[in-house]
């Protein structure tokens, strides 16, 4: 019964109608009274209380910036050689036939055909349009959405080589060569690393030796093994709790479901504890760890919540760690060990289905999967695939353990941890209270990860302190928190290839949720019942609600990797542009208006990197979000 009720509520939330649980929310102004704007070729006008737009006037020659385009005597229609499209005076040069589109004045029949002659699902339609877009992690190849295969032979993330979809997984720097889809140093300055290895990469573009004809090299450990070597394989799954809004509007965690242990490190050790094989659990939860002979049944299989770009890496870049103690002060060094799970390997090596239960710490697996997704953005979009540019991060969590003065927090300087002989300069602490979101609270986890991103790859001038919903904050404070929440919804949306704009949290049995995408009833503009919008009249350096910053960022970002939500602002920055802007010299060294990095600096940074977008960006920010950005960018660099 509860499922039905939940579904009903969800339906009322999904479709316009603005009815929720029998109570109408209070009406907030969405526009300036008497303000006008275009809606297609019509003008719509804001009503007297600013609560809605209404039809005002039809424009026979089109509408621009809230006014009808007037044909003037000086305007002469120009259709030289064009048989369709705008004549420059609000009229038309002609219409195209059924199914045709107008491409720069010429009628054109879109063609979306695969290499095999089928119907294409992506790519150029030949008329300046698109046959469709592919989701995150996919590329268009021959009219098909193709899943990029960017994994090394050991299952680690590839740094270079073909992605199997007509593209590259990355490119190596000069002085490096691509070996096993990994960039390795080459040339005279490179010292081969072959200690304990009889084959495989020497780290300099060469090999440590060749195996005999009847053997193959296990690249992960550099050992030759008979080609009939064995494998330890199976599926790794774990229990997870997901959120639902109950009948009364409270966020509750559902009963357990199962998830795939994608990305977990899988190691096989012999009876003496020596690692004899390593791999990474794939996206379906399947793992296959190659070993040098058929498993005898005395091996052990270890899954560890650790990640590095290569199985040969000499330091981990991400760990989810189990604090030895029962809590402490976030920011102090906490004796911890990586979360790991050990299983016996049966003779023959087929392990079958492994389910890590909540009682076995499946929350740590979930935290690892979530933070690994975020780390992909860091590794590829901010560090450019260069492992040395990824700042190692430890995530500390243990069921029942709370952190003083923290709840959940990111600690930059002062957050260093030594875990299992590895050094992590920064850490995220996640509270494990049973009456809180704990490990399942992925929006908060990713929010804290967003602070890690700003701290290391951008600039964060927030004064910090307590903050809550709807609170106007100083511009750098609002930017810091708004960015962190944006990074959270970005990561989940990007991963899923659809807009997931929900933020929620549970603390001490109480809960809160908000949807950044929820617009007003008519779909014109944006409207939320708790987020304080920017004021068009308060200047560029006004205090802002952090969630309004998130709303603006998400709406400027969407429309590319995920469909538009809310207002169609005509801007789709996509991840690469956003990350390039936040890590640009304009952000790191420039400043305009309010002291410290804020939303204005971000807009300037985008405009400085992509000058052609400045006008559209300024228009969209003003028109759709009411933020009075002037577009007079300053493009100071660090030199």
């Amino acid at each position: 019964m509860r499922a039905m009720i939940t579904a009903t509520i969800a339906a009322t939330m999904v479709f316009p109608g603005c009815f929720f649980g029998g109570e109408e929310a209070g009406v907030e102004p969405i526009c300036e009274p008497q303000e006008k704007k275009c809606d297609g070729s019509d003008i719509v006008k804001c009503n007297s209380d600013g609560s809605d737009w209404a039809f005002y006037k039809e424009c026979p020659h089109g509408c621009k910036k809230g006014k009808c385009i007037e044909p003037t005597e000086s305007c002469k229609p120009t259709c030289n050689g064009r048989n369709c499209g705008d004549d420059g005076c609000g009229g038309s040069c002609g219409k195209c036939g059924a199914g045709e589109t107008c491409n720069h004045g010429a009628c054109c029949m879109p063609t979306c055909i695969t290499l095999e002659g089928g119907i294409g699902e992506c790519g150029d339609d030949g008329c300046g349009g698109s046959c469709g877009k592919c989701g995150a992690g996919k590329a268009c190849f021959g009219g098909h959405c193709c899943t990029k295969q960017c994994f090394t032979m050991e299952g680690a993330i590839a740094q270079c080589g073909s992605d199997g979809c007509g593209g590259q997984c990355g490119t190596c720097s000069s002085g490096e060569s691509c070996v096993n889809m990994t960039c390795v140093q080459s040339g005279a300055g490179c010292k081969p690393k072959c200690t304990g290895k009889e084959c495989g990469s020497d780290g300099c573009g060469g090999t440590c030796g060749l195996c005999s004809a009847s053997e193959a090299c296990n690249w992960s450990i550099g050992v030759c093994a008979p080609t009939s070597a064995g494998v330890v394989e199976g599926w790794l799954r774990y229990e997870v709790r997901t959120p639902t809004v109950d009948f009364w509007g409270a966020v509750v965690l559902d009963d357990v479901q199962e998830g795939d242990g994608a990305g977990l490190l899988a190691l096989v050790a012999d009876s003496e504890g020596n690692v004899v094989g390593a791999s990474q659990v794939d996206t379906e939860g399947y793992f296959a760890v190659p070993v040098s002979g058929e498993p005898a049944g005395d091996e052990q299989l270890l899954f560890a919540a650790m990640w590095a770009p290569s199985l040969e890496a000499d330091e981990p870049l991400l760990v989810v760690a189990y604090p030895d103690s029962g809590g402490g002060t976030a920011g102090s060094m906490i004796p911890s060990t990586p979360w790991a799970w050990l299983f016996e390997v049966p003779p023959g090596g087929y392990v079958g289905n492994i389910l890590v239960t909540e009682a076995q710490g499946s929350g740590a697996m979930f935290l690892f999967v979530v933070t690994l997704a975020a780390m992909q953005t860091v590794a590829y979009d901010l560090a450019g695939g260069v492992a040395d540019k990824v700042v190692p991060l430890a995530v500390l969590w243990k069921p029942g353990v709370a952190w003083e003065d923290c709840g959940a927090c990111f600690v930059g300087s002062g957050g260093a941890q030594n875990i299992a002989d590895a050094y992590f300069p920064q850490s995220v602490f996640i509270g494990g209270e049973a009456d809180g979101a704990s490990a399942w609270g992925y929006p908060v986890t990713l929010h804290e990860f967003g602070h890690y991103v700003a701290h290391n790859y951008s600039k964060d001038d927030s004064p910090g302190g307590d903050h809550t919903i709807g609170q106007p904050l100083a511009p750098p404070f609002a930017w810091s928190e708004g960015w962190a929440s944006f990074f959270s919804v970005l990561t989940v949306s990007r991963w899923l290839g659809q807009a997931v704009t929900l933020f929620w949290d549970i603390q001490g049995g109480s809960s809160f949720w908000l949807d950044y995408a929820e617009g007003d009833c008519s779909g014109d503009g944006l409207f939320s019942d708790v987020i304080s919008p920017a004021s068009p009249l308060a200047g560029m350096y006004q205090e802002l609600d952090e969630n309004w910053v998130t709303t603006m960022l998400f709406n400027l970002w969407d429309g590319g990797e995920v469909p538009e939500v809310g207002a169609n602002d005509g801007i789709a920055l996509e991840t690469a542009t956003v990350m390039a802007a936040v890590s640009s010299e304009r952000i790191l060294c420039g400043d305009r208006g309010a002291k410290g990095v804020d939303f204005v600096d971000f807009l300037d940074a985008v405009a400085c990197q992509y000058g052609f977008i400045t006008d559209d960006l300024a228009y969209a920010v003003k028109e759709y979000f009411g933020f009075p950005y002037d577009g007079n960018k300053s493009c100071k660099t660090c030199n």
């Binding site: 997870v240 009364w248 409270a250 559902d254 190691l267 953005t377 929900l502 109480s510 019942d529």
Partner: protein
């Protein structure tokens, strides 16, 4: 497209079986501020998640089968709609003073609202709940009296294992499960 909690749940289910495959935008953004090896002055930084917009505290006294409760609602953030406070009783209990359900109206940030209750025959815990739910957000504060024991946290124990070296780190503890414990 609009997103709902349900959509998020469904999406999350997908996420769980989703890939760690990554976009391959390798534009190589230059000069991350924290490239290791930099000598930049590190910024002191501890960032916290936003606090919930409202909380409840309840103090009480039991005399025989009569319970006197005082509930204080503290609102720190903006709320979507008027707040409704209600009291949920164990079977057989009755409210002798106070409203079982009261519309508190709009409660602005920075406000405190106190309500007193007298409950007779409360043979169990009494729960006070405050809700403010709108179209695009919702806040719920709830507290029980006497304070409910914190639900037992599931606390797995990591046991010592033979040290395993990986990525230069040493893993010497793990949650250990034998095959016998596993479902076929």
């Amino acid at each position: 497209m609009r997103t709902s909690i349900m959509a998020a749940c469904l999406a999350l289910s997908f996420l769980l079986s989703c890939t760690a495959s990554s976009p391959t935008g390798t534009s190589g953004v230059p000069g991350g501020a924290a490239d290791r090896g930099d000598e930049l002055e590190p910024q002191a930084h501890v960032s916290h998640a936003a606090s919930l917009p409202m909380r409840l505290q309840v103090v009480g006294k039991r005399t025989g089968d009569v319970v006197e409760l005082s509930a204080v609602l503290t609102v720190s953030g903006r709320l979507a709609s008027p707040v409704v406070m209600s009291i949920e009783l164990p079977a057989g209990a009755v409210v002798e003073k106070g409203s079982v359900r009261e519309d508190l109206g709009t409660v602005p940030p920075g406000s405190e609202v106190r309500r007193d209750f007298v409950v007779r025959s409360a043979e169990g815990s009494v729960r006070v709940v405050a809700r403010s739910v709108g179209r695009s957000s919702g806040a719920t504060a709830r507290v029980e009296w006497p304070l409910a024991e914190e639900p037992p946290a599931v606390r797995p124990v990591l046991e010592p294992i033979s040290p395993v070296k990986v990525f230069g780190a040493t893993v010497n503890k793990a949650v250990v499960e034998s095959n016998e414990e596993r479902e076929p």
